[in-house]
Symmetry: none
Subunit: 229 residues, 2 copies
Amino acid sequence: MSHVLIVDDERDLAELIDFNLRGAGFSTRLAFTGEAALAAAREQSPDVVLLDLMLPDLSGIEVCRHLRANSQLRDVLIVMLTAKSEEADRIRGFEVGADDYVVKPFSVRELVLRLKAILRRSATPKESVPPLALGPLRLDVTAHRFYVEGQETSLTALEFRLMEHLMARLGRVQSREQLLEEVWGLSSSLETRTIDTHVMRLRDKLGNARALLETVRGVGYRIVDPTAG
Amino acid sequence: MSHVLIVDDERDLAELIDFNLRGAGFSTRLAFTGEAALAAAREQSPDVVLLDLMLPDLSGIEVCRHLRANSQLRDVLIVMLTAKSEEADRIRGFEVGADDYVVKPFSVRELVLRLKAILRRSATPKESVPPLALGPLRLDVTAHRFYVEGQETSLTALEFRLMEHLMARLGRVQSREQLLEEVWGLSSSLETRTIDTHVMRLRDKLGNARALLETVRGVGYRIVDPTAG
DNA sequence: AGCGTCCGTCACCCATTTGTCACCCAAGGG
DNA sequence: CCCTTGGGTGACAAATGGGTGACGGACGCT
C-alpha cells in the first residue's frame, strides 16, 4: 500500500498512530523532530507525511515549506496534526500547502479514513484534474488559479478553498455548519457569521458574476448553474 | 433527530449538557454510572454515547470496551469527555475505539457542533437526495428548490421544511401537534393555529395545485396523491 | 520597525420571515 | 334551519437573518 512518514515528538502518540496505520496496511516510518523528518523524507520519499504542528526544532509549517521547496518532494501529500487551540495556524498551513488537517485529539478511525480519502483523491494524476469551469467562472485546482470572464482574479487561500468547495457542489446548498466543517476544518469554533463576510468578499471579486453565488435564506449558500433553465 | 446517551457522574454538568442538547434538537438520556450507562444503552440503542472518562464504578474506557463487545451496540458512535490532564487515558481511549474526543472544559457550542459533525459523517453519504416528485410538484432537497408545474417557486426555509415533511408522508394526515413537533422542533410552544397560516401561505404558492394540500377537518393536513383514485 | 495582506468579529441596518390575533365563513350535527 | 366548531384569511408586530463597512490582531515581507 502506501508509505507514511509520521512526524510527532510525542512518542506515545506517534507509536500509537504507527501501530494503527500498520494495522490498516500502510508501511510507516517515524520521526520525532523536524530535522529527522526532512532527512527521512529525502532518503525515502513517502507518499504521505503526517505532520505535527508543534515540534521541538522546526515548526510543522517550516517543515512543510521545506518539503514544498524540494523538487523531489514537492508533490508529497501532507496532512497536518494540530491541537485545537492552534486554529489560527491551520489557515497558515493551508497557505504553505498542507493537503488536509486533522485536529487533535482525533480518533484513529477518522485518521485512517482521512488518509485513505486523500490518497484516493491524489491517485488520479494531478495533471488531469480538470479545471472546474462554470459559465464565466473557471477554477484551476492544479495551478491554483481562478478566472472570471477569462480574467485571472486573485483569491486568498481561504477564498480559493471556499470557492472550490462551492463550485464542486454545483447547485447544492451548503449550510454554514457544513462549510465551517469542510472548508475551515473540524470542530472549528468560529462564528458562523464569519462565513458571511467571506462570501461577501468572494462576491466582490466575482464582479458581474456575483449573482452565481446565491444566498438561500435560513439555509446556506449555493452556486447556481447558469446553463440550467 | 438523534438520540444521545449522556454518561457523566457530575450531575450538574450532565444536566447542563442535557439541557443544551435538547435545545439543539437531540433526544437524550442520562446515566450517572458506568453500569447505568450500559443498561440504558442496551435498553434503548442510542446513536451516540457521550462518555465521561472518570466514572465512579467502571472507567469510561471499560464502558467503551463493553459497548464495542456487544454486537447490538458495536457500531454506536462514542464521544469521550476527558479532562485535559488525562493524556495517558486519551491514548488508551483511542485503542478501544472512541470516535471523537472533547477535552474539558469545552464550550457547549463546540460540543454540539462536534456531535452534529460526527453524525453527519457517519450518516449514509447523502451527497444528493433524489428529488421528491409528485404530480405537478417537485421538491429538490439537495438544491433546496421547489417547482410547481415545472416553474420554480420560492419557499421560505420553514415552508420548505413543512412541504418536505408533508410530501414525504404522501397521503397520510399529519396532526397539528405532529407538525409542530416534527417541523418546528421539540420545545416549540406555538399556537397550533400558527400552522393554519403557514398552510395558507403554502397553498397560495401552489397556485393551481393548491387542491393537493387537503384539510382534514378536526384532524390535520395531508398531501393527496394526484394519481390515485 | 513599518507596511500591507488576510482573517475573524462586531455593530448597524434593512428586508423578509414568522407568530399571533380578530373576524369571518363553511361544514356538520341536531 | 340554526348553532357550534374548526378553519381560512388579512393585517400587524416582532423576531430573525443576512449584507455590509469598520476594526484590530496576526503574520509575512522588506
